[in-house]
Amino acid sequence: MTKPSPSPILPLEVTDLTVAYHEKPVLWDVDCAIDEGTLLAIVGPNGAGKSTFIKACLGLIPTAAGRVKVFGKTYAVQRKRVGYVPQRESVDWDFPTHALDVVTMGRYGHLGWFMRPGKTDRDMAMDALEKVGMAEFARRQISQLSGGQQQRVFLARALVQDADLYFMDEPFSGVDAATERSIIQLLQELRSKGKTVIVVHHDLQTLKEYFDWCMLLNVRRIALGPVDEVLTKENLHRAYGGRSAFLRS
């Protein structure tokens, strides 16, 4: 799986990706190729470059070297086939808007300049809210939602993008157990529809239960493959150093 065979068009193909902040490497020469219909977790210690990897794939940060291909072309071209869930902490939840409005933002990429979201867009947003079990909170000011509910709103916003490839940055952070279960159910549903979902995750305990593929990252790519094959003692030691013993128990 290190090098893809040239025939099928893969949802995500990253070659030799290097990212640096002020000449300090955050990601070094990362390769990966993800098949369609994969539910992939990116795991690694803090500062391993997990979020950076996603952001680099989405073209949000400059890369020092490397190439990202989404369904065989650059991200800029395939943008409408990609959905994104940023970290929940990345926005000010006191912003004056309600849940439905945030979800409608997911349609902005399809709308184009000067166009206002219309009834169809709002209906789609409502459907997405329904799907994440948040329909009754559609008109609720976003600061009055719990952490789990805010995360669901973000998820609904990505769903409304109607993408084939999703990037999600820590969608389980700060959510309650019930939300976590319903989110993972949703992700598995997406996968069964042939969508590809890439999730930054930090809980090794639930990894096997939730995901089928996993990329272990610590500045460099330590391993990529089915969860069972990746979670070896040696790999974990390489990713987490001395802390892995504690994490394995």
Binding site: T18, E23, W28, A64, R220
Partner: protein, 367 residues
Amino acid sequence: MIFDIILIACIVAAACSMPGVFLVLRRLSLQSDAISHSVLFGIVISFFLVKNFHSPLLMIGAAATGVLTVMLSEVLLKTKLVKEDASIGLVFPALFSIGVILISKYAGDIHLDTDAVLTGEIALAPFDRFVVRGVDLGPRSAWSMGLIAGVNFLFLLGFFKELKLSTFDAGLAASLGFRPHLLHYGLMIMVSITAVGAFDSVGSILVVALMIVPAATAYLLTDSLAVMIALSIGVGVVSAATGVIVAFSLDTSISGTMAVVCGLFFAVALFFSPRYGMVSKMIVARDRKWVFACYTLGVHLLHHEGTPEEEQESHVRHLQDDLKWAPKYAKKVVASGIRNGLLLKTGNHLRLTPLGKETVRSLMNRG
């Protein structure tokens, strides 16, 4: 007379730059703007009470207003109805406005005009002499600002290590029992008193120039706190003196010119400071960029060494196709790698030298 003005200007600058250093280091620079505006409210109210511009009560009242500003902003912030920037931006304009309205309505009673509030009247300061038993001891504001400068200096000296610790690590300072909040208010009182004292000479907005600009200049030149304080006093004094001389020769506003001179010194430091200047930073960054690009290439080569696709991955063309490097850029990186003995090129294939391998390995272990 120009010597008196230069003397006063230098003392004001020295007094201002001491609290300025901590405002800059604690990222509170804009508090100086807030406090220097709101003390006007305190000055006017206290003046109505004591009817005397030289009363120490005036100083105390005005300083209390400075602290009041900080407290009101904190109260607003605690309601969680506004964010920090707005909490500052709402309080001082209101207090300043009341001050200006009072001055313009009771202009006959208060010997201040609304323009002087902004610019100060340092040119008039030498006429107000400090006379004890018939002996002329020099301009009164030189003495009063000298006193404030002295108090500031003693405050710095007395609480140097506490200020240093709470500035660089507020958490640690608190755990050691230094009560950073109290020091914070101490600093704010110091800023307020200095702002009130300097008000006559330079006005409310140019106090900001004398507090922040020399300290920011010093911040570009050194990493040591003691040196930074000394440098900022030095830069402040030199800019003030130069400003007065330039203003006299061009016949321009003294305080305005002082601020411009401060700005020029800052600009020079910003561009040409040996370590933190933009020019030297740019040179370092450019060098580092090539070295880093070399390492990136090295990591890539090492990564694929001995794997079946090595043949393909080490090809020069690969740098353009997969690393997405422009041909020219790639060529330069390869050349610099070869020059530094990290790379070997045979035909169109690149290989790491033993030195290259070792360098890259040690780098990766660090990362």
